[in-house]
């Protein structure tokens, strides 16, 4: 008998389910969905690749830079990459619209190139290092550090010793 009242109340309240696909499904901001990558902030530390349980992330060193690949179908949305990324270049968006046709299954890949830097003085190839890294390492930049930050260690040493970077 007690249940009849509950049944009646539930009937009055109407459907408890979301109207999706005919309406929008509420998605919280913190929802762990599709991985996004920002090559301008990546410093090529490879930590995200190291912690990725599924092996969804691949980095390879090529002539033009570090090639980044993410296989969305292999990603389990654990969020470890985003947690351990020092510059938060890799993040999880709340986009969960990942369904696709069977024949497109090998195309669920995003690719980006993180360009190498070149020493502004001698031209030697340097590992990537975006502005975010400097923000993190030195809690901000000044004109001097900005001039020095794109130099190789040797040139940087010379520049600061000779005072030209002052």
């Amino acid at each position: 008998m007690a249940f009849l009242k509950i049944l009646f109340d539930n009937l009055r309240k109407g459907p408890a389910t979301e109207a999706f696909p005919f309406g929008e499904a509420a998605t919280p901001d913190a929802y762990r969905g599709k991985v996004t990558f920002d090559e301008t902030n990546c410093v090529g530390c490879n930590m995200c690749e190291h912690v990725c349980a599924g092996g969804a992330i691949r980095f390879s060193e090529q002539e033009d830079g570090l090639h980044f690949l993410i296989w969305h179908n292999t990603c389990i949305s654990c969020g470890l990459c985003a947690h351990y990324c020092p510059t938060k270049a890799i993040k999880l968006s709340n986009d969960w619209h990942l369904s696709h046709l069977q024949e497109e299954k090998y195309e669920q890949v995003d690719h980006a190139v993180v360009p190498y830097r070149h020493c502004t003085s001698c031209g030697e190839r340097l590992q990537p290092g975006g502005p975010m890294l400097h923000q993190l390492a030195f809690k901000g930049t000044n004109p001097r550090s900005q001039r020095l930050m794109n130099m190789c260690p040797d040139c940087r040493r010379k520049a600061s010793y000779s005072g030209e970077a002052l």
């Binding site: 249940f3 762990r32 599924g54 470890l80 947690h83």
Partner: protein, 361 residues
Amino acid sequence: MKSFEMPVGPLHVSLEEPMYFRIDVEGEEVAGIEITAGHVHRGIEYLTAKRNIYQNLALIERVCSLCSNSHPQAYCMGLEKIAGIEVPERAQYLRVIADEIKRAASNMFNVAILAHIVGFESLFMHVMEAREIMQDTKETVFGNRMDLAANVIGGVKFDIAEDRIAYVIAQLNRLEPILVKEIIPLYETNSSILSRTRGIGLINRDQCIDYGLMGPVARGSGYAYDVRSAAPYAVYDRLDVDVITYPDGDVWSRAMVRLKEVVEAIRLMRLCLRELPEGPLTSGPLPFIPAGEAITKVEAPRGELIYYLKTDGTDIPARVKWRVPTYMNWDALEVMMVGGRISDIPLIVNSIDPCISCTER
């Protein structure tokens, strides 16, 4: 009376998990039972020694869906013990919240299935709908309905900021009255529930101790063992956990323990949200884990979960081994089932809230 042998399983005995029983039946009665395990062995323990400590966080969380927070928690506690890492206070409180929200959802799932097996589908729907409040909360706070991905070595990787605290409390305020005023009274008084669950699947306190039973199964027989109060971890020692017991040791008592534990989980979450101290979420970026060994235990929704860890100074563990409560609870089915009726088998199996994926990993 005619006696024969009856196979039950391996699919869909009560949950969508493979269990296989060979049951000796005399007339309507169960005379003996033989349990065959190993249908979902995936070699996860072996895999943990092939992956680094970070990758294992995600792997271990996927051992099972319902206790998916307890596994990484015990695992992180083990590594923290070996490395002597001090987990910040705020992270400790947040870990308790993650633990309790999973317990609430897991227990409600089990009692909902009980109603489903009894054939009371509208009650099943009602409990599942109430549980959905917890699922939505998990999705909003942690980003996923089942896998919270809450723990990292040395802390947690989620936060509950002030506005989120208000949201979680509002969600708890929605769930609690449904649970206390509607669901629990129904399970206490509804004749369809009572007639199918009272006096069925009996096991007494001494038998629980003999079989090493854990969790709501043991507490449903009056054996008040709970890791949260017997060997408190995180900040459980400050929370004064109420260990819920029922004396009768039947299917109904186990369900009642689970329901009351949801109420207790709500209280603990409230308490943690109120006391949540300021501070960092992790002890630092990348821990160094020296060679060592550790044993840790936590109270998973199904009972005591023990982890053994051995490291060798690299970031790939030498050995990770765990013992789950279902292993013992499962064995005790022979006590609970023998003498019972065939038609009660699914109810009795469900009453131990079996987690086969944890047990066979």
